[in-house]
Amino acid sequence: MIDFLNSIIVLLNFIIIPGISYGSQLALGALGVTFVYAILRFANFAHGEIMSFGAMITILFTWFFQSQNIGLGILPTALLALPIGIIATIILCIISDKFVFQYYRYQKSVPVVLAMVSIGVMFVINAIIRIIIGTETIKFSDGQKFIMKAKQFKVMTGLNEGLALKSSQVITILITILLLTFTFWFLQKTKTGKSMRAFSDNEDLALLSGINPDRVVFTTWIIVGVLACVAGTLYGLDKSYKPIIYLNLVLPIFASAIVGGIGSPFGAVVGGYVIAFSEIMVTYAYKKFFVYLLPSSIEPTGLVQLLSTDYKFAVSFSILVIVLLIRPSGIFKGKVL
């Protein structure tokens, strides 16, 4: 019995909790990509860099607040800087729209052209970030690091295995719940949210109903800015901030959005968790888990790891391929908000 409990704790500690928090970060990222796809109708490859930019501004202001000795006590100072990061990210989105995307939209360019344009925007933002903050790994989480330490848990329960709960994980999960609830409420209940769904559903009819396309696009960028900055900051807070990581994050984020059914916000969220859990479950070494569960005679000697963690991006790619082969429309049929 104790062995069974220990094995469950191992799973919780190494797969479920990290999976939920990584999944939340992917879900928020994928939701941003989905909004751009459903309203502006192109795949925004710059999304990872927009996230990175938001996280960078948040870090800069975190440093500033730290130098002024302003903090939130046990909570990370980054939460105080986050609203400023969000505003800066929204401004970045709107500037890139006004100077770049708007032109192609008015030209009625095909989506693939806009996707290529977004790659250009991605490089520009990436360069700006490197000039401002460099390429080093930055740890900016402060405050109380753990809500529960592994050791505390062991003492508390008397089990062999510890269960650690990082405050960044709890913050990630809480903020994600808050933001997702707000986003879905906004889309379903408010007039502006409904007009965005209408625009995404049938652009011509939305115009005939008097819905102003420029306002819909503007609101979209505001939402995208909020989602991207929060997702980027939470990821950096949980792991660490490094510009190159956000470039790599674009792949699992797009996989999440497509797996869930591109254009469907609910699908994007589900896709985020599917990708996160797959990556973690396939690359986790289950040796400890089986040692607890199996009698010592058939205990595994190897690591019982399906793939090395170096291959975790291959996992998102494989899931993407499998979904596109079996169910090309994604888990939830997409296209419309």
Binding site: K194, R197, A198, N202, L207, S209, G210, I211, V336
Partner: protein, 234 residues
């Protein structure tokens, strides 16, 4: 008295004029039908009136005011409404949300107008929380119609409102159109079912090859031997 007039309209797509020198007029409280063979430019004429394509020459007047260069959205604001032939509902949204989107531009309380639409199409009230994409063709057409009525238009333009619905539903839709006219709305419609449409029309226009070929009251056109022979099947 509000009226919509198209004078000497010439327009088309990609530099090719589909309608040439067409005159159309619709007044408040009357049903006007445009009939003609396939490819005669009926729908194009209607889109030209709404500003969905730019005019090569001619102009559009609404209540003695020239609106030729106005965007379609702004014409909606003036009191025009349009129901396209296809893709005329928001398929992912509920019936009620479709109606709400129809009244998007209004700042006043739209609940009364929604109830008016439900009175006109009782089936929509039953299906108010169902998504419009799940409805039958005839019900969808009613949603489309209702959405257009939400702006409380003075002139309503319908592009083949009965395309692809059964004869029973068609009769039903036509009787609703007559009811809408009673409230003082002017209706301009393009119809394939020319016979039935002319029967309820106050006036009609026959377009052939993008030109005005004939006009008159519904009855005159119905009884005209030439018109009967060409599009009404004898």
């Amino acid at each position: 008295m509000n009226n919509l007039i198209g004078k000497n309209l010439t327009a088309g797509y990609g530099g090719v004029d589909i309608i040439k020198d067409i005159n159309l007029e619709v007044n408040e409280g009357e049903i006007v039908v445009i009939v003609g063979p396939n490819g005669a430019g009926k729908s194009t004429a209607m889109k030209a009136l709404l500003g969905m394509l730019s005019l090569t020459s001619g102009f559009v007047e609404y209540s003695n005011e020239e609106i030729s260069s106005m965007l379609p959205q702004n014409r909606i604001n003036l009191g025009l409404a349009f129901v396209p032939q296809t893709n005329n509902v928001f398929t992912g949204m509920t019936v009620e949300e479709n109606l709400e989107m129809g009244g998007f531009l209004r700042d006043d309380d739209i609940i009364h107008t929604i109830n008016d639409v439900y009175d006109l199409f009782p089936i929509l009230k039953e299906k108010r929380n169902q998504s419009a994409g799940e409805l039958s063709g005839g019900q969808r057409q009613q949603v489309a119609f209702g959405r257009a009525l939400m702006t409380q238009p003075k002139i309503l333009m319908l592009d083949e409102p009965t395309a692809g619905v059964s004869p029973i539903v068609m009769d039903e839709l036509f009787s609703r159109i007559i009811e809408v006219r009673k409230t003082g709305v002017g209706i301009l419609m393009v119809e394939q079912n020319a016979k039935q449409a002319l029967a309820i029309a106050d006036r009609g226009y026959v377009l052939v090859n993008g030109k005005n070929s004939r006009e008159g009251t519904g009855e005159e056109l119905l009884n005209n031997p030439e018109v009967r022979k060409s599009f009404l099947g004898g």
